[in-house]
Amino acid sequence: MYAQMIKSEATQDDPEKLAAFQARIDRGEKIEPKDWMPEGYRKTLIRQIGQHAHSEIVGQLPEGNWVTRAPTLERKAILLAKVQDEAGHGLYLYCAAETLGVSRDEMTEMLLDGRMKYSSIFNYPTLTWADMGAVGWLVDGAAIMNQVPLQRTSYGPYARAMVRICKEESFHQRQGFDVMMKMCRGTDAQKRMAQDALNRFWFPSLMMFGPSDKDSKHSAQSMAWKIKMNTNDELRQKFVDQTVPQAEYLGLTVPDPDLRWNEETGHYDFTEPDWSEFMDVLQGNGPCNRDRLEARNKAWDDGAWVREGLMAHAEKRRAARVAAE
């Protein structure tokens, strides 16, 4: 998921206040920025929303990688609009996190120097045009699994950002699938590209949900606070169940020889991704970790004079107005 392995923060608040807070959440009330909240709730949310926002921004890069190579004018426009939406989603999420008392620039710096993380999936490269299909279909598909329930999360600004994001995201997965359909009905080379993209993105997509958390204390706390709505395994299973028939429709083979329908459970049995690879990626050893952070740092550093220049002009103008009054 865009927020993976979020550690919940220990809370040492007054038990009575804590109980009242939990009761509000249990009643389905929304927690708003100025409401009392446990420090753990606040810190966990900053980490989770921040990671989600960073994922949107870093996530612009693998798809942005193909904006200048899109094969037709229409594909170019669609892809650019989609990647632009991701910038917007990052922006909405940063704003939601800012209501918790951390500024966007602070969060950006924490991303840039490695104190905060982003989703493992964006450390994989996009190598062919079919990857634009696979990312939309699989990566956005996996993200939606998590984002739809988060519209009901307990923190008001986060829930509202999610509503907006889900509304805008509805075209993202479809455009990905549309690219895949074109590829799968195209030339032999296109079919090969499509299969290759699925081969490379299948397991990294399953990793997006994070390792099993059925015994995790952090997840239990986050679920009690309703900032996590489902277990990782639930969402992963749902994703597999939804995606396998779509792959069949496309005439593609899911790269898992042990994948099969289980009549008894009513779900697909599938192979777990290689969690040691996942941990490697989180440690900074994915195929693109260094490239991604370098690109973000360069953009931030190169843009500093613009941000400062615009600010300086605004201050001069303000001063001139005050002087005129």
Binding site: V179, K182, A189, Q190, H313, K316
Partner: protein, 253 residues
């Protein structure tokens, strides 16, 4: 040159300029100085790509050779491109990108305003849709040029550098040739030279506000809109942009 041949040339000039600038702006995707700028730059690029579809779509129709807007965009080599030299100049820093947009936007807006009264209703219809988009581009780029020209010492220096670097590419926008005269005679489009006084007045007003100095030289590079001598940069841009269509000519996407 027949009227239709001249019209085809003219439509390619409009469509190639929006295509090349739209592409250049799309190169910023994900790396602009702030999220808000990233989103705004993409909006402009999207407008320009949309306009490209209309201009090149009409060019293909006028040509009548069975080509589409995509064929024109993705299957012509640099010498067949008819965009202004200004828009193919590389992005440079964000300041140079903004200055390039500003100098073009002011011209583009005036050109489109005149084209809304074109004797060719197809041209007038495209211009009527595009002019609203471009009016916004022009306002935004002017505002940012003023702010950065007047901002910090560094932003001022960078904007002045950008202006000095790009100024020699502005003359081409308002120079006339045979195609332009044919279009003017048919009342399809104004003579570019008629746009010069208004363009220059507007540009100078903004640059003065931006505390920038307009270069004195009136020298103008030429060769973009007639395809005679593009810069080296265009070929590299096309190499990227056209790669898939060239590598897999049988495929549909």
């Amino acid at each position: 040159m027949t009227r239709d041949a001249a019209l085809f040339e003219f439509l390619c000039r409009m469509g190639d300029s929006t295509l090349v600038l739209g592409h250049r702006l799309s190169e910023w995707c994900g790396t602009a100085p702030a999220l808000e700028e990233d989103i705004a730059t993409a909006n402009t690029a999207l407008d320009l790509i949309g306009q490209t579809q209309m201009w090149l779509g009409l060019a293909a129709e006028v040509e009548g050779a069975g080509r589409s807007a995509d064929d024109l965009a993705m299957r012509r080599d640099a010498w067949d491109f008819r965009n202004l030299l200004l828009v193919e100049q590389p992005n440079g820093d964000f300041g140079r990108t903004l200055m390039r947009s500003f100098l073009f936007d002011v011209w583009h807006r005036r050109m489109l305003e005149r084209l809304t009264a074109s004797s060719d209703p197809r041209v007038a219809a495209i211009a009527a849709k595009a002019v609203k988009e471009v009016a916004y581009h022009a306002d935004r780029s002017a505002e940012l040029v003023v702010a950065l020209g007047d901002g910090t010492e560094e932003s001022h220096r960078r904007m002045q550098d950008a202006l000095d670097r790009l100024w020699p590419y502005t003359g081409e926008m308002t120079s006339d040739d045979e195609v332009d005269r044919e279009m003017a005679e048919a009342r399809i489009a104004p003579l570019p030279s008629e746009l010069r006084p208004g363009w220059e007045e507007a540009v100078r007003a903004t640059l003065t506000q931006a505390t920038l100095t307009v270069p004195e030289s009136a020298f103008a590079h030429r060769g973009g809109k007639n395809g005679a001598r593009h810069s080296e940069h265009l070929g590299h841009m096309l190499t990227t942009m056209q790669w898939l269509q060239r590598a897999y000519p049988e495929a549909t996407w």
